[in-house]
Amino acid sequence: MSGRHPFTLLALAAALPALAWTLPTPWGAAGTVAVALLLCLLTPGASPGLVVARRALFTAAPFWLFLFLLHERATAVAIALRLSTMIASLVWLVAILPPPRLVEALVAAGYSVHFAFLFAATLSAVPALRARAQHIIDAQRCRGLATRGGPLTRLRALGALALPLVLSALHDVDERALALATRGLSAGARRTPLAPPPDSMTERVLRWALVFGCVAAVAGRVLWRA
């Protein structure tokens, strides 16, 4: 499955929750969650299937508890199955689709280089800024910043932690803009992907079949209710 085109993987991960919300409960959603968990179990590569399936189940478990606290059994099961489908599908997608491969597919499909840049730059900026946040917290604690106490003390401490983080992040914008301008990232520039993921007719047909399947499920549901 990991060799499939990124758009096919995206289509499958989107179709399963769409079907879970459309098909009659509980059996429709039970079927979609079973498929999603099976996909998780079959995940190859660095994260073995059992690890991926366990991650999906651990993420979904609190919702089951909260839903049984809030709703009667039938409603809780119906919502929980739908949510579990959504969670398992996205956990599977994250495990099987490396973001750089998606970016390559987007560029190869003719999407703007800006679009690809935004996606790739965000994925690299988040862990870097999180690490900087931790450095600022450690540095401010070393200087004697009290992070415990009454709400006002905590709010003041929050300002002392958040302000340097946000200001330093904004300072980076100019450097990034300069680097991008130097590398010729301007509107209309077309990048050549080094290793575009192969796309076959079978996969295109599969993607359209998923779209038509979802539309048919919605139409069927509307007609059934009418």
């Binding site: 965000t122 958040a162 302000l163 803009a177 301007s186």
Partner: protein, 189 residues
């Protein structure tokens, strides 16, 4: 879109997602996960703000898939912040904090149908407990859900607006002038 504004978007998304570390350190019941969206809008307008909000939801859903359905709230936050910036509501804390409270009401109203329809009001342990409390007080399911959304969003958005106003005022004038809306947001243009 200029390269500077393009470079601002990933940084603003990272601000949205990295501030949780600061919140955890002080142990306050806040999210601050729209700070980057509001800041980007106040600096550069609604297109940059909406792009930041959408990208935040997508990126956050890689960590926790339940964030994805709330993308509409991020878009609403960006549009509200744009109106606030054009009106110069970041010019002082005394104006920014009430404007943030207004956003809290709007954000709660926007997130309630999503939370109710998709999650059955079970988005987190805290929300579940507040919804249960609402029910004990005699509220209907939907009203209890709105009550929990209101309690969690109200203070958070006020603090977020206050933080963004503080950041905008702390920016050197030369840096602020490089962004199209920054000076207007703080009432300096």
């Amino acid at each position: 879109m200029s390269i500077r504004l393009l470079a601002l978007i990933p940084v603003a998304v990272a601000i949205n997602l990295a501030l949780s570390a600061a919140v955890d350190a002080v142990g306050l019941p806040l999210f601050l996960d729209t700070t980057g969206t509001i800041l980007a809008t106040a600096l550069a307008g609604p297109v940059v703000g909406v792009a930041t909000g959408v990208l935040t939801s997508v990126t956050n859903s890689f960590r926790n898939p339940t964030f994805l359905p709330f993308v509409a709230v991020q878009v609403l936050v960006a549009l509200y912040a744009w109106v606030a910036a054009r009106a110069g509501l970041f010019r002082s804390l005394t104006v920014a904090i009430p404007a943030g409270l207004g956003l809290g009401i709007l954000a709660a109203a926007a997130s309630t149908p999503i939370s109710y329809k998709i999650f059955g009001c079970s988005t987190s342990g805290g929300v579940t407990m507040i919804t249960l409390l609402g029910r004990k007080l005699g509220m209907s399911d939907l009203l209890a859900c709105a009550f929990s959304a209101f309690v969690t969003d109200f203070g958070d958005k006020a603090v977020t607006f206050g933080l963004v106003a503080t950041v905008l005022h702390a920016l050197p004038k030369r840096t602020a002038a490089r962004f199209p809306l920054a000076l207007r947001s703080i009432g300096a243009a």
